[in-house]
Symmetry: C2
Subunit: 250 residues, 2 copies
Amino acid sequence: MRILVTNDDGIHAEGLYRLAKAMARLGEVTVVAPLIEHSAVGHAITLTDPLRVEKVFHDGHLFGRAVNGTPADCVKLAVRMLMHEPPDLVVSGINHGANTGHNVIYSGTVSAATEGAILAIPAFAISRAWSLEPDFSPAAEIAVEVAERLLAHHLPDGVLLNVNVPAIARDEIRGFRVTEQGQGRFVETFEARVDPRGKQYFWQAGETVIPDHGETIDDTALEEGYVAITPIHFDLTARPFMAELASWGW
Amino acid sequence: MRILVTNDDGIHAEGLYRLAKAMARLGEVTVVAPLIEHSAVGHAITLTDPLRVEKVFHDGHLFGRAVNGTPADCVKLAVRMLMHEPPDLVVSGINHGANTGHNVIYSGTVSAATEGAILAIPAFAISRAWSLEPDFSPAAEIAVEVAERLLAHHLPDGVLLNVNVPAIARDEIRGFRVTEQGQGRFVETFEARVDPRGKQYFWQAGETVIPDHGETIDDTALEEGYVAITPIHFDLTARPFMAELASWGW
């Protein structure tokens, strides 16, 4: 089995290394990841600049390839150009910080897995809730469990899994929950500053607000010590509203 | 009425100018748009660099403000910092090139309107199918019609409109259709080249493939001469699959 491993925190991120090591228990791993951090790039692709690929070695062995592009670029380039045969599975992560609620749409980690689904390859994204000195090993174990279940079953066309792991020890994790994307979000504030040349600039900052709670909400599952597994798709159509919209007298 | 107008083709794009002029018939327009083109940035936001704002004048009058960030940054910054009161409507466009099918998830134009919906402001994105020498006036007229209907009705929380206009004259447009995001997509190929220093690089290229046809498909509506109006949302949960996923024995 061939497994493509990527992320958005970049080729040197610890979460990527832990994920690649864990996935190697299941098959042949190819790592293709961004050269630099690409958090909050959403589903970006690079059309106006050329893409370059660099081999990255660990202790004299090829660890993976770094691309001067986005997570989605990495998956497209890996599948179309860098791998001899397409992978059987695309895994993106382990992101440092949860990708839940509204944040899912800004997530480069999720966009890489989405690219797998677009290319009709089973795929999941895995993120671990943020903490100051993260231990990625519980999430790496969970990635193996999710991969095994994913390969034993069948995802519908265009559907992938968005997996989030709480920031607690493996034996404190209470299990898995199938969840939905909640309303948790980052509410921005902008800090206006003045640079040494007297010109104004703004830093984007803010705080996370989680307004909804309930057993099926992704952020609630994390808070209660469960791994949150949300099936997602890239069809954005708001179907329940189509009939009402059609009645607007177009 | 206050209307925020933005885009992803950048502050100097003709489509933005035409849209701002047309919207001025309905209310007070504020233009805040990216300094440079940001196509295919998806729903990116800028967290690691400071944002700067520059006033752009046309013939000695303030046209708008340019931000060294993404379309989503422009909307966040405009609403939180640059406008005295939040807008009643966010309009993003007129993009040069349709945002239909899978392309919706890569679209900076759509992401700017989505940001409006996230901030609970009625919003729509408007794009005009690509052609060599585009005439944006039909799409500008249609933007006014859509804005009027949008303000006379009510969008559900978290829903926005993605409007696509065919590349034909106003009197050839056959009307409006409420549509869904189809399976049309850009199938990438990568062209490998060698630079003057002997190093390999890749250009992303490809061609559009539209596999599905049917009255409710966005690309079909365009092909048949209709304006395609797709209601979209940013909840990516694949709800129909949740029950089956829960049966995977987690």
